[in-house]
Symmetry: none
């Protein structure tokens, strides 16, 4: 599902692993930010978006290794040649899914963390927001926590680096609160972050859109649990 409000995207689609193309990389955002599915109004969505949407759905449903390139192109209604025109390899598609989710969450965390409000408010909102955006992108999230080892080693490294940046920003909020005395300092802040993010990853395992709780309710509950756990 599209997440409204996202500002900029850098290149959904476009060769990233630079296999053989001499023409240089495609421009960032070329295929239109936010267009994640086959369009309905203005004709069919551009090919790269269709491919990303199909790949996301299939990787989430059956896993990366169990999804063949043939299945992706059939679901997207294009040919194999077209896929390899836009993406250097199957694993580029996966990397792009990782990048899309990471960019989205980093952008949102940065926005919350930079606000001028008490740290407990900022943490609560960040903690709740990541729950909502995770539920809104549950396919991406499922792929995320399940398929890291299916990325090529270099891509894994890149993803881990981005992930760490995110983790650190979140951890700094915890540490700031602990230093300021508003949070209990007993637990190492890295561990607090892992505690919370375990639960966030876990969402894709148990959350059902047709369940009792709305995404926002889940988010509020989980943020409450975190904040209560941090009470001095």
């Amino acid at each position: 599902m599209a997440t409204p409000g996202t500002a900029s995207r850098t290149g959904a689609g476009g060769k990233q692993s630079g296999a053989k193309q001499s023409g240089g990389k495609r421009k960032a955002g070329k295929h239109g930010a936010g267009q994640r599915d086959a369009g309905t109004a203005d004709g069919p969505a551009p090919v790269p978006q269709r491919l990303m949407a199909a790949a996301t759905r299939l990787f989430s449903e059956r896993g990366y290794d169990r999804t063949s390139v043939q299945e992706i192109v059939e679901a997207a209604g294009v040919t194999k040649g077209a896929l390899y025109h836009y993406f250097g390899s199957k694993d580029d598609l996966l990397h792009e899914i990782y990048g899309r989710l990471l960019r989205l969450q980093q952008d949102r965390l940065d926005a919350y963390a930079d606000e001028e409000r008490p740290v407990e408010d900022r943490l609560r909102h960040a903690a709740a927001d990541v729950v909502v955006t995770t539920i809104d992108n549950l396919d991406d999230a499922r792929i995320f926590f399940r398929s890291m080892h299916q990325l090529s080693p270099e891509k894994q490294k890149a993803v881990r680096a981005e992930r760490r940046r995110y983790h650190e920003r979140f951890r700094d909020l915890v540490a700031e609160g602990q230093r300021g005395g508003v949070f209990n300092p007993a637990t190492p802040p890295d561990l607090v972050v892992d505690y919370h993010f375990g639960s966030v990853h876990h969402l894709s395992t148990w959350y059902r859109p047709d369940g009792k709780l709305t995404p926002q309710e889940v988010a509020d509950h989980l943020a409450d649990l975190l904040l209560r756990a941090l009470r001095p």
Copy 2:
């Protein structure tokens, strides 16, 4: 032909999902904990154990789909025929890994939950214990949360059912404490369990044996976080 009713069994595997073998040689849940690797004292470990140990290591390292049967048998020092003599399919090995961890954790949870102590003590100990046993079986845990979708549908169903039983037992401790007024009743108990178990699954992503914290320290911290989150 299988001889049902035979008293002692050496093997741990045995066709479970086997296509043609109708006899079904095995009771669920063999392999006896503690015989998990190639033996050193009394000669080499039995073939099924060697296969399970090799499979566990490899599935954890490179993922289920990226581990070939050939690699498993080479690592175990047996032939493919031997593997298929004991296990009906590659996916039987995976199922057995699931079963082993599930049985272990269920047994331990049952023991803690049945004690005659205040509910907050029982929950704390159960919450900490599952962290320690997860870290002690980190390969199993990594496989667990990553490879569910690689099990055959029926096996997934079976695993989910066992998982649910575990979840419910844990949840009942939370609910008991909430009814008794020792835990904050604001969060639905199912959600509390998912919160904690997200973090437990997540351990296999970040915990390093050579890190700063011992398994017990991590366990105590995570149990503290849970109990603090539940304070009224």
Copy 3:
């Protein structure tokens, strides 16, 4: 992606039973009679024809189950990938052989049966013709009567349906003659057809091209036997 509605097709095979390919590239019954072997004049024959020719020869020589896909592709001078590009499975090749013979014989029977001649002439000619075409396609015929059970159940059903159509058309000639008093009505017409076709199938067991009798002579003898058996 398959492009339905495409006018001309070169290939003869094409996935029919293909698991994942939903597009279904092919209309039943291609391969065009007459293009049955590796071409000599205009360069090598197309890959699907080469595969069909190799498969026909090998299935006839050693039987379907004793012929490996590897042997077929080696005999055809292509790779396994090429085979599976055109045929969804080994059993598709077999089905295609069945289809080719069935179409050929049905077309010829229809032509004879529709003529404006006395029914005894039409039956005699049809009975003799099927002998000649069977001898002309003795490999197909041998495969036909030996390998039905090696087709997948659905394909068996399809073949049986076509076979039944053929049988019924032939039987109707017999019944017509019986009603008209030119044939002895003592034997149920279905049984007459099975009598004759048993002998036709049996040809592949005993007929040798280097034997004393030409195909036409055999055909005339067998048609005579049938017609004499039917004399009132």
Copy 4:
């Protein structure tokens, strides 16, 4: 089904291809002629009979190559070791099935041919009898005409020789009648025999025990057709 009235059998079961056994061949008929299924009255049938019965059923149902030794021993309720104790190889079982049917039919043909009656009576009775015994042993018959190429070359040769002997005896009846002027001499007698036996083989393709015609009725019809075809 057992065919009552059969006089002697030479060794159903027993090593025939003499693979490795030093102890010499088992005595003919050792396991009791006519006992083709698991006994009910006097306890279970002997192991070789159980194996032959299981193999016959399975080879007929799914074909020789598609029946595994494992399936046979499971169906017979014995172990693999037991099978290899009684039979030198899987293909020995097949050979034994061929031998059993060939012996049966040869014995009966010999009996009919030796009678002191007009040749047309003897031929009619022989032609009808082979139909009845074929229907009574339809599994054997189906295996017979489908699996010749699955026998080892030497066994094929042996079977062909026995088959030829049978064919010749039958052919001699036809020739005798042609010489005597009671049969039409237009058709070579070998061809007449192949005409009839094609239909006999074909029985296993179309005859259904629950159909309209009894075995004897089918036999009479087919014998009538043959005799009418031979009318001068």
